[in-house]
C-alpha cells in the first residue's frame, strides 16, 4: 500500500514554514504506525531544510524551482504527489496520536475526501463563520483543505477546475462569489467553489466524525469576547512526551495551531528526541 502525507512549503528568508513542516513530519513519525507514517515535502529550495538534524523524517523531498508565490502551489497537490494515496496537510499542524484508522477508511471507501468541519480546543465543532463569510454568504460547501485525502489520478475534473479558479480568481469571484468576495481566493475557497460547480460536495465531503482537526484561530473558539490570537487568552504547552495542552484541555486531535511562532527550537528538540528514541526502538 502506497500511502503518504504531503506537505507544501514555499519558504522565503523571513518565514519559518520549513520548521513547521519539519515539526509536523517529526510528529507524524512519532505517532503513526508503520505504513502510515510516510511524508513527502514539496519545497521551493532544499537549502531551507539543510540545517535540520533529521531530514530522514521526509521520505521524499520534491524541489520545485518555479513555485508561484504564496500557497497557490498547493493546487497542484494531485500532480506532484509521489504517493498512490495521499493526505495533503497544512504545514502548521501537529499530530498527537495514531490516526491511521481514518486513512484506512478513506482508502477503502473514497477517492477524494475533504474535511468539512473543524473543532475548537475544547473539542466542540466550530460553528462560527467569522472567517468564512464567503462560504456562508455564497452558500459554498464548508470545506477545509487542511486535510485532503485523494487517490492519484482520480477526480481530475475537480482538481483542474480548482486550479483554474486559483489561476483566475477575479473571473470566478465575479461570476460565483458575488454575495461576498474573498480578499484572496485560497485553496479552501477554490475547493469549495469547484465542488459546488461540479455538484460533487456530497460525494467528496459527506458527513463523518473524522478527520478531527482543531483550528486554533481566535474568533472561532466560542469565547464570550473577541480574540485576535488564542494564546493571548490561554496557554499552549508541550511536554517532553510531545503532548500538547491548550488551556485546561489535553489535545488528542490533529492541531492546526495557526500561530507560527509557537513552534520554537525547544519544541523541535522535544520532537526530535522522541523521534530518535522511536527509531532506535524500531
Amino acid at each position: 500500500m502506497d500511502f503518504g502525507y504531503l506537505i507544501f512549503v514555499n519558504e522565503n528568508d523571513e518565514s519559518n514554514y520549513s520548521t513547521l513542516a519539519y515539526a509536523l513530519a517529526l510528529s507524524i513519525k512519532n505517532t503513526q504506525k508503520e505504513g502510515y507514517d510516510k511524508v513527502a515535502l514539496v519545497i521551493n529550495n532544499r537549502k531551507y531544510i539543510s540545517n535540520y538534524k533529521s531530514t530522514w523524517v521526509f521520505d521524499k523531498i520534491i524541489e520545485l524551482d518555479d513555485m508561484p508565490e504564496g500557497w497557490d502551489v498547493r493546487s497542484n497537490m494531485d500532480l506532484v504527489t509521489p504517493w498512490e494515496y495521499t493526505v495533503c496537510l497544512d504545514a502548521d499542524m501537529l499530530f498527537f496520536r495514531d490516526y491511521s484508522h481514518w486513512v484506512e477508511y478513506f482508502i477503502k471507501n473514497t477517492e477524494l475526501y475533504i474535511a468539512n468541519k473543524a473543532y475548537t480546543y475544547r473539542g466542540d465543532v466550530v460553528t462560527s463563520d467569522y472567517y468564512r463569510q464567503t462560504f456562508t454568504k455564497n452558500e459554498l460547501p464548508n470545506l477545509y483543505s487542511f486535510y485532503t485525502f485523494f487517490k492519484r489520478g482520480c477526480y481530475k475534473e475537480f482538481f483542474e477546475l480548482q486550479r483554474a479558479i486559483i489561476a483566475e480568481p477575479e473571473k470566478y469571484s465575479n461570476e460565483f462569489l458575488t454575495n461576498k468576495k474573498p480578499k484572496v481566493v485560497g485553496t479552501d475557497e477554490a475547493f469549495a467553489l469547484a465542488a459546488k460547480i461540479l455538484d460533487i460536495q456530497n460525494e467528496i465531503s459527506f458527513p463523518l466524525e473524522f478527520p478531527r482537526v482543531v483550528h486554533l484561530k481566535g474568533m472561532i473558539q466560542d469565547w464570550p469576547y473577541p480574540a485576535d490570537s488564542v494564546t493571548d487568552h490561554v496557554g499552549l504547552y508541550i511536554d517532553r512526551k510531545g503532548n500538547m495542552k491548550v488551556g485546561n484541555y489535553q489535545q488528542t486531535d490533529i492541531m492546526h495551531y495557526v500561530e507560527k511562532s509557537k513552534i520554537t527550537l525547544e519544541t523541535i528538540n522535544v520532537l526530535e528526541e522522541i523521534a530518535w528514541k522511536t527509531k532506535e526502538e524500531v
Partner: protein, 284 residues
C-alpha cells in the same frame, strides 16, 4: 443492586433547608418509588426536633445521617425575587456523598430540586457509574442563561450541575468524589489553573473539574443526566394550584407568568419555596 435518593440539607439561620428536604424527599419517594435518605448535621437535626419536623422526617426518610455541623465560613447572597439577603452557604459536605450514602446506586439531589415525574427512573440501569447533568435549562429560555452557566470560566472547562448526580458506589466513583474533595480543599489553587471565581465554593465547579481531569483533561461527551430545568432565584413563586407551580419569571423590565406541572424542577429561590412549602407539599 439497592438504589435510593440522597438529599443534603444543612440549615443556616435564614434558610430552613431541612424543611425543603422533607418535601423534596417525599416527592422523590412518591414519583421514583425508591427509598430516600437525608444527609445533614447535628445542628439541623436539633432544629428539626425543636420545630416539630422530626416525626415527619422519620416517616419520609429511610435513613437520616447526621454528621458534625460543617464550619463553612462563606457567605452568599440569596435572592428572593428583586430583594436579597446574605447568609452562610453550607455546601462543603457534598463530596462526602460517596461515603455517607446507604445505597449501591444513588441519586444525589439538591434539597431545592423537586421531583414531579418518574423521568429519572430511566437512568438507574444506565451502564455508567457516574452521571451528572451537564446543562442548565432555564424555565423561560436559554437567553437568560449566562456564560458561567455552561463553563467554569470564559476559557475553562464545562460546568456540571451537581443538582442531580447519579453514581454507583465503586472504586471509580470513590476516586471521583475524593478528587472533588481535593479540589474543594485546594479551591484557590484550582482557581488559578482553571481561572474561575473562587470567592464562593461551588460544587458545580468542583464536579466539572473533577470529571474533566478523570476523563484525561477532555470533555466527556458520553452519558449524562437530563438538563436541570431551573427557576432562578430572581424569579418568584406565586402559587401552587392543582399540582402546578406558578412562577413570575423575570424579564428585563417585567415578569412573565409561567406554570410548571409534572416536570422535575430546580426552584432556586429558597425563601419563595419556604413561603409556599405547604402548598408544594400538597402535591405529594
Amino acid at each position: 443492586m439497592n438504589k435510593g435518593v440522597l438529599i443534603f440539607a444543612n440549615n443556616n439561620r435564614q434558610i430552613d433547608y431541612a424543611k425543603m428536604a422533607v418535601v423534596s424527599g417525599s416527592l422523590a419517594a412518591k414519583h421514583l418509588k425508591v427509598p430516600v435518605s437525608l444527609a445533614t448535621d447535628e445542628t439541623t437535626v436539633a432544629w428539626m426536633k425543636q420545630s416539630g419536623q422530626w416525626q415527619e422526617a422519620l416517616t419520609v426518610f429511610d435513613k437520616i445521617i447526621a454528621k458534625n455541623t460543617p464550619q463553612d465560613l462563606q457567605q452568599r447572597k440569596f435572592f428572593d425575587g428583586p430583594t436579597s439577603t446574605t447568609a452562610p452557604f453550607k455546601n462543603s459536605t457534598r463530596p462526602s456523598a460517596w461515603s455517607v450514602t446507604p445505597y449501591e446506586r444513588t441519586l444525589l439531589i439538591d434539597c431545592d430540586y423537586f421531583i414531579m415525574s418518574d423521568a429519572l427512573n430511566e437512568y438507574w440501569e444506565v451502564d455508567s457509574p457516574l452521571l451528572i447533568s451537564d446543562q442548565y435549562n432555564d424555565i423561560q429560555d436559554q437567553s437568560r442563561a449566562g456564560w458561567l452557566d455552561s463553563y467554569v470560566s470564559d476559557t475553562g472547562v464545562k460546568l456540571l450541575w451537581a443538582t442531580t448526580v447519579m453514581f454507583t458506589k465503586n472504586d471509580e466513583t470513590k476516586i471521583f468524589f475524593d478528587l472533588v474533595e481535593h479540589i474543594r480543599k485546594n479551591y484557590r489553587r484550582f482557581a488559578d489553573v482553571y481561572r474561575f471565581d473562587n470567592r464562593i465554593y461551588r460544587n458545580d465547579i468542583a464536579f466539572g473539574i473533577a470529571k474533566h481531569i478523570l476523563y484525561g483533561f477532555e470533555t466527556d461527551k458520553g452519558y449524562s443526566l437530563p438538563s436541570v430545568l431551573s427557576v432562578p432565584d430572581q424569579d418568584m413563586i406565586v402559587d401552587v394550584e392543582n399540582g402546578a407551580i406558578k412562577v413570575l419569571s423575570k424579564n428585563l423590565n417585567d415578569y412573565t407568568l409561567c406554570s410548571i406541572k409534572d416536570r422535575d424542577i430546580h426552584l432556586m429561590n429558597k425563601q419563595a419555596v419556604l413561603r409556599n412549602i405547604d402548598k408544594i407539599k400538597e402535591t405529594v
